[in-house]
């Protein structure tokens, strides 16, 4: 009995808390992706690169002597501008074609390639690191956890809750959901649909940017950093249901727990195949994912 308790406290609990902190990071990435898909029907292949740009922006801002906290506020604002411009300048150009899915997929993929190389030219290929603004670690009930990761969990959790409230409990959120549900009806009722589209894309990109700043001190900053989370974020969005916020949250937390706990028993190399195996099973039995789209949730 005492052995089982010890195992719970010293093996399972730290592993689960660890998984939770990675889960919050994954959900932050998946959130922007699913919102953009839910409203615009665009699979944003450049999401990982927007995440990387967020991290590099923070590096650049900190280099001017700015504090981490100001960078955390300023970066998403700058990223929103970048997202707005990308939507109006690039995505809108192919948005109304009947091959929208293919064209936007190719377009955002191209943007991703260009952005990655632009980062390489501007900042070099060598990794950079952002010093964590909160140092030290907390010991609780025999558990040892870095303070900065605790902060990321709390702040990320609050951010996710904030996005939820914004989309489902405000009139702005109602407009966005209405535009996602029926574009023509919303337009005829006076909703500036074009602006809502650009604004939502900008919002999704800003979320990727925030994730970039928050996670940079943990995962370091380099041009291809976007590739790390974007695959798992895509899987989370597919499993949770394309466009569903609830689905992204649940699938994100669930999958990272599965990865985390399974890594106690299987070689870490198998944790990604496990994830994609789950994705394949979900696609076979419930191709629409666990939950429906943004407009219907």
């Amino acid at each position: 009995m005492s052995n089982a308790m010890e195992w719970l406290q010293f093996v399972l609990a730290p592993q689960m808390i660890n998984g939770l902190s990675i889960g919050v990071a994954v959900v932050l990435m998946a959130l922007g992706l699913t919102i953009i898909f839910g409203l615009l029907d665009v699979i944003n292949m450049a999401h990982g690169e927007f995440y990387a740009i967020g991290a590099y922006l923070a590096v650049a801002l900190l280099a001017t002597g700015m504090s981490f906290w100001w960078a955390l506020v300023l970066t998403p604002l700058l990223m929103a501008v970048l997202g707005f411009v990308t939507e109006r300048g690039l995505i809108q150009r192919v948005f109304h074609s009947k091959d929208r899915h293919t064209l936007t997929l190719l377009l955002t993929f191209g943007v991703a390639v260009v952005l990655e190389d632009a980062l390489k030219i501007a900042f070099g290929a060598n990794p950079l690191r952002l010093e964590a603004p909160i140092s030290g670690a907390t010991e609780m009930l025999g558990l040892f956890f870095p303070n900065y990761r605790l902060f990321v969990m709390l702040f990320g959790g609050a951010l996710i809750a904030g996005v939820w409230l914004l989309v489902f409990r405000t009139s702005l959120g109602a407009i966005v959901r209405a535009a996602a549900y029926d574009r023509n009806m919303s337009a005829s009722l006076g909703v500036p649909v074009q602006l809502v589209y650009a604004g939502t894309f900008a919002f999704g990109v800003a979320l990727a940017g925030i994730a970039g700043v928050l996670l940079a001190p943990i995962y370091s900053v380099f041009p291809t950093m976007g590739k790390d989370f974007v695959l798992i974020a895509f899987s989370v969005v597919i499993i949770g249901g394309m466009g569903s916020i609830k689905g992204a949250l649940l699938a994100g937390l669930l999958l990272t727990q599965v990865q985390s706990i399974s890594s106690l028993y299987i070689s870490p190399v198998w944790s990604d195949p496990l994830l994609f195996g789950i994705m394949v099973l979900v696609l076979m039995w419930r191709p629409q994912g666990l939950f429906g789209k943004l407009g219907s949730a």
């Binding site: 010293f10 093996v11 730290p14 592993q15 660890n18 998984g19 902190s21 990675i22 060598n126 990794p127 950079l128 690191r129 964590a132 670690a137 040892f144 956890f145 870095p146 900065y148 990761r149 001190p217 943990i218 995962y219 370091s220 380099f222 590739k227 790390d228 989370f229 990865q259 985390s260 890594s263 106690l264 070689s267 870490p268 190399v269 990604d272």
Partner: protein, 389 residues
Amino acid sequence: MKTRNTAIALAIACIASSAAAQNQPIRIGVVTPLSGTYAGIGQQVRWGLDLAARQINAAGGVAGRQLELIYEDEEANPAVAVQKAEKLFQVNKVDFLTGTVNSGATLAVGQVAERNNRLIATTVSFADSITGDKCSPNVFRVNARAGMQSAALADWIARTRPNANVFYLGPDYEMGRSTVAAFKSAAEAKGAKSVGEVFAPLDNKDYSPFFGQMRSSRPAVIYTSVAGNDTVRLFSQMAEFGINRNVQVVGASGTVTSQNLPAIGKNADGFVTGVGYATSIDSAENRKFVADFEAANKSAPDLYGADSYGVLFFYKAAVEKAGSTDTDKVRAAMRGLQWSTPQGTKTMRAGDHQAMQDMYAMRVTNGKFELVGQVKADAAIGADVCTRF
């Protein structure tokens, strides 16, 4: 540079066409990456060779003949290296060839040398197989191999932390698994106890899921062979979770390099690795070499520059001992040859063509490598497993 060297060679050939054969220059082919990922290593190779050739020629050359270097870019690609080596042997008629970096390129060019009945030496490639199960009578290695680096590190651990519990963390692919296996056997032979190992995928983002396993096995030493940005993440995350507190972190020679050291920052402090050269080696030869190298290139030498500098003195000593540039005579002279390098006197082991040299343990302190230990050549060299000659 190449065209100029060729032009000079032509001019000399015209003027001296009537002169005796031994007054013609000795041509040495250099197949090394001058572009691409390994261009930085190729640069060191070139700086080291150019400096040595200048010094040897100024002092009267090799047996009265000048040395002439002919460079070709191998683009860090074994297939290109083979073509360029073939050209140097067939068209330029080089007497000797060096400069290959990638271990695959060294093995492939070694076969070209066998077909052409010429000798080559590598100054960079680490793979144990080059002077091990894939050894060749035409291939020599003047630099330290991977196994000697492991031996130096294992020896340092045995002296500073006798019978330590060691945990291993490697990237999950051929290089990662073979470096861990090699270090593990070297450490266990010195009394260390292995308490666990993990192989994480290449480009792994978060190492914290493995920290529970690491902590519970209570290691005194953690060995890792991750490289590049994986090192940045591993080291900063270990610091975050306090894993490296009261634990000695050691690793492969490619784990912490000048490319990722700035990003790792203070979290790299205390890291120890085993290498075959350090600028801080305290000998008259090395101080002179470092000063000459810095004066010529406005940059400090690394192990590649030092061993490439040394290889020309190896060839010079062999040709002067043989009294000829004939392949068989030079090969016989190279076997068991002792020659002087920035690291001190090296000996070419006859049985497998692997140079024997003292090895060094280096520790990162305030972002710089400093010398903390030294292992004698015969303790680091390991068994001769070459069976071809």
